[in-house]
């Protein structure tokens, strides 16, 4: 997939709460096809303390309006800067990067449901993945978790592509507890699990998948520099040796990883 380096214009910078934003970006050239789980590397300008680009997963591609959505957790100097962007500001993106979640063929009548587990900022890539699965005729189950109801977003859109189950640590929305404690895991049998979120959550999801014999893919977020597989900084220790999360990942089948699960 051809990599592109280009300036985008901020159409909207929606402050969802004081530590999450939804950046809607547009560009002159029509957006290429992008795969679910892929990411962009955003250049952070005008901040002397931030030099490297920041990898941000693709939340959604609004083809009708030629817009790319990034759901960003404001967590450090680089992302804080993204929080200050205003409508009309320019943002330089390197994209689309990385591999993608595996998209299954169209469903057959006896296909078991697919489970998409997103935690915290890890809910971001699940929207595009859910949309593409819905386009293929699936009705996936989304299991989305956060600390509290303020950190769960885009729920109406998720609901338009599948069934939505929610977990919050404080019980302010959905079931109280972690995603892996949600009752949907006891009620349904899934064919495939896709997951993105904090590593402890993904490891718990991977443990569930492994013990139930379910295929499972997780999206990692190791610290990276180039985003192109050149600098070898972001490696994950896999059964095939050190692999670049930016190029061979960010999505890995849990069977490839050396996680102690």
């Amino acid at each position: 997939m051809k990599k592109i380096l280009s300036d985008f214009i901020v159409s909207e910078n929606i402050h969802l709460n004081d530590h999450y934003i939804l950046l809607k970006l547009t560009t002159e050239a029509p957006l290429p096809d992008m795969l679910p789980g892929q990411f962009v590397e955003v250049r952070i300008d005008d901040t002397p303390e931030v030099m490297l680009r920041r990898p941000i997963s693709i939340n959604f591609v609004d083809k009708a309006n030629n817009m790319l959505w990034l759901l960003v957790h404001l967590i450090g100097k680089g992302t804080f800067h993204l929080g200050t962007l205003r409508e009309g500001d320019k943002l330089n993106l390197l994209f689309p990067l990385g591999n993608s979640f595996s998209l299954p063929e169209c469903p057959s009548p006896d296909s078991k449901p697919l489970l998409l587990v997103g935690g915290g900022a890890g809910i971001a890539p699940m929207l595009l993945l859910g949309k593409l699965l819905a386009d293929r005729g699936y009705r996936p189950t989304f299991l989305l978790g956060a600390r509290n109801k303020e950190d769960l977003f885009e729920l109406e859109q998720f609901a338009s592509y599948g069934d939505v189950c929610l977990s919050t640590e404080d019980g302010s929305l959905g079931e109280k507890g972690f995603v892996t404690q949600h009752s949907v895991l006891d009620k349904k049998t899934f064919a495939w699990i896709y997951s993105c979120g904090p590593k402890p959550m993904m490891m718990a999801v991977a443990r569930y998948a492994k013990s139930h014999g379910i295929e499972c893919e997780v999206s990692l977020e190791n610290k990276m520099a180039c985003g192109l597989g050149a600098c070898l900084c972001c490696v994950e220790d896999t059964k095939d040796g050190n692999q670049c999360v930016c190029k061979e990942g960010p999505v890995f089948n849990i069977n490839q990883l050396k996680w102690q699960i």
Partner: protein, 316 residues
């Protein structure tokens, strides 16, 4: 060298950007630093590889190396630390699987050669000597991220001389030697490798550094220490290029925090015949093209006809 008026001699014609390092002919002085540009292919969508003076590919060792554990990188003020540890699949793999692809790309490639013994270096160099489309190697005697060897060869003049002498015996093309800044007197090392037949020296490799997370009380790199690169090291690099350029007759390649054409010109004025772009490739993957164009623009604006005219043209 007399400075010329920028107005009187302003020209829109391309200046002559070509540079020669030993027997290596480059169309311009812009090279890519080893480990920051992969094998060039990774950047092929974003850069016209044929417009780069020379692409120095990832450090290659005799045997496969897995490198250090994650985390290998930490961003610091105006720079970054890395501790990749020369991850590569070894010279046999390079020759069998990577070189056949590179030789079909219209670009100039040089291989960075690293090792942990003199035999490692000379065997690897000898194997690369046979590759028709690789006109040069850069001998890495300065990697700070490998426990055995690497930098240990580059911090003492006699060790540096010994490894260069051994490689010179078996390697017949252009031999560039990459020097470590983690020494008391870099000019002394440069003179030692020049005496053993180095065709050029490149400097600086990364400066040893360290970063700490106060909240977790842990180092940010798995190896605790790593190599610092980026704009933070540029003044140190510029000073060392200046010192080495005065100490040796062979061409000097300037490396260290070059982010744009102005930085590159500064290194050339300080005595560098060419420059390597490293960390900047991570910030702007197309930066090499901008540096080539920017050097040309600088030369035209100042009335120079050739890039060679500004080498060491610093007025002090």
């Amino acid at each position: 060298m007399q400075r010329r008026s920028s107005i009187q001699y302003k020209s829109t014609e391309m200046a002559d950007l070509s540079i020669k390092l030993g027997q290596l002919d480059m169309i311009n002085p812009v090279m890519t630093a080893s480990g920051t540009f992969g094998y060039g292919e990774e950047f092929a969508d974003l850069v016209d590889l044929s417009r780069i003076g020379c692409i120095i590919v990832k450090g290659t060792t005799l045997n496969h190396r897995e490198g250090n554990s994650y985390p290998r990188m930490a961003e610091t003020s105006q720079g970054m630390l890395n501790a990749v540890g020369l991850q590569n699949k070894g010279v046999d793999y390079f020759i069998e699987h990577i070189y056949p692809r590179l030789k079909n790309i219209p670009a100039t490639f040089c291989v960075n050669v690293a090792g942990s013994s003199i035999d490692d270096y000379s065997l690897t160099a000898q194997m690369i000597d046979d590759l028709e489309n690789i006109p040069a190697i850069e001998l890495n005697i300065s990697c700070p991220n490998v426990k055995q060897g690497g930098m240990s060869f580059g911090v003492k003049p006699d060790c540096a001389a010994e490894v260069v002498a051994a490689v010179r015996k078996v390697y017949h093309k252009t031999l560039i030697v990459k020097l470590s800044p983690n020494v008391t007197d870099i000019a002394e090392i440069a003179r030692a490798v020049e005496a053993e037949g180095a065709d050029a020296v490149s400097l600086i490799n990364t400066l040893m550094g360290m970063a700490v997370d106060a909240e977790t009380r842990r180092p940010l790199l798995s190896t605790v220490t790593g190599g610092l690169s980026g704009p933070a090291v540029k003044p140190v690099a510029l000073r060392m290029v200046w010192q080495v350029a005065k100490a040796v007759k062979v061409p000097v390649v300037g490396i260290g925090g070059i982010m744009n054409a102005t930085d590159a010109v500064e290194f050339m004025l300080a005595g560098a015949s060419a420059v390597e772009i490293g960390t900047a490739n991570f910030v702007d993957p197309s930066v090499t093209m901008k540096v080539v164009d920017g050097i040309d623009e600088y030369l035209n604006r100042h009335g120079y006809k050739s890039a060679r005219e500004i080498i060491g043209a610093l007025e002090v």
